[in-house]
């Protein structure tokens, strides 16, 4: 049995079925991310002064990732246009470049996550607070490349309280609490990891689809090029949506 309207537009909607399906899916995605953005706004606005972090994320890396994702949106569109122009070789090149750019995006994200997960705040039993990147840790000692701070409020805006980083050796007997900048650190990191992690999962999903269309799925080009072109188009629509989400995630998490 043939699936109807995979190539020809359906008379009542004017578009082929998969395109309507993708737009309906994207509508549900808008609500999914909308809920997270609204949670962010509520928590951000109601945070007491000096409790919301400023400048914790690398703006140059975030900007670079924004440009990489924008470039991948262009190459995915060019891949679709190449199919429309019956230039299958060009399609392969542009889709391959899209995949590589997505991989670079995820690699930068992984580097940023690693930076946060190896950044520790150590609260000592005498009340002092040490903060910095973990150098080493064993049963007796923890070594940080960081600084002692007067209070946790000083950690919220490192640019306002610049300090020289040095190697700090702390005996585990003195440690009251040892916590990395993971999702459980504070409300900001919880939101950062949830929102950017969900976005990264979307990138991964898009990559799987693109890899299929670039590899085994591209066999359809020989038997039904119009249908294959439509598959590339709707995968591209999803990718543009993922780019759109990042366009708002970047300023919200990195710049404001």
């Amino acid at each position: 049995m043939d699936i109807p309207y995979t190539v020809q537009p359906r008379p009542d909607t004017g578009v082929y079925n998969a395109k309507v399906g993708m737009w309906l899916f994207l509508a549900s995605e808008v609500m999914l991310f909308g809920g997270l953005f609204s949670a962010y706004i509520l928590l951000r606005v109601s945070a007491p002064p000096d409790t919301w972090p400023q400048g914790w994320l690398s703006v140059p890396l975030g900007t670079l990732n924004t440009l990489i994702l924008a470039l991948s949106a262009i190459t995915t569109l060019m891949a679709w246009a190449a199919c429309k122009a019956r230039m299958f070789d060009r399609y392969k090149v542009y889709q391959g470049v899209t995949l590589l750019l997505a991989l670079v995006f995820l690699s930068i994200k992984a580097y940023e996550y690693r930076d946060k997960l190896t950044h520790y705040t150590v609260t000592l039993k005498d009340g002092r607070i040490a903060d910095g990147h973990l150098v080493s840790r064993d049963d007796t000692t923890v070594v940080l490349d960081g600084q002692f701070v007067e209070s946790r409020a000083h950690l919220m805006n490192p640019k306002r309280h610049p300090a020289k980083h040095e190697e700090i050796r702390i005996s585990m007997d003195e440690v009251k609490r040892l916590q990395n900048y993971g999702p459980a650190y504070n409300t900001f990191t919880a939101l950062y990891f949830t929102m950017s992690g969900l976005h990264a999962l979307h990138i991964l999903g898009g990559m799987l689809v693109f890899a299929y269309l670039w590899g085994p799925g591209s066999r359809m080009w020989k038997t039904d090029p119009a249908r294959f072109t439509n598959r590339v188009e709707i995968a591209g629509l999803f990718w543009h949506f993922v780019d759109l989400v990042w366009i708002f995630l970047f300023p919200v998490l990195y710049l404001t």
Binding site: S38, I41, I74
Partner: protein, 101 residues
Amino acid sequence: MSDLKPEAFADYARRCWLVFGAVACTTFLMVGASYAPIGNRTVVIGLVLAAAVVNAGLVGAFLMHLLSERKTIYTVLAFTAVFFVGLMGLSIWAQFDHPKF
């Protein structure tokens, strides 16, 4: 879009690169606005988000072809917009809905 002639592909590619240039410019504008020496933080956030909206508009209009879509797609988007505005509106309403004693 109907099938492209190979010579029209080059024109289309040029348009795509122009859009990328515009998206890159608005991205830098967004970052620049966040460093602007404006005392009022709300104004800075407003400027940054305005640049983000322009950026998103470029992606939606040109890359997602929303400038020339079918009525069905606009209908889906209109419903999405209503629900999204409702979601954000309820959040903001809840934020300012403090009891007055």
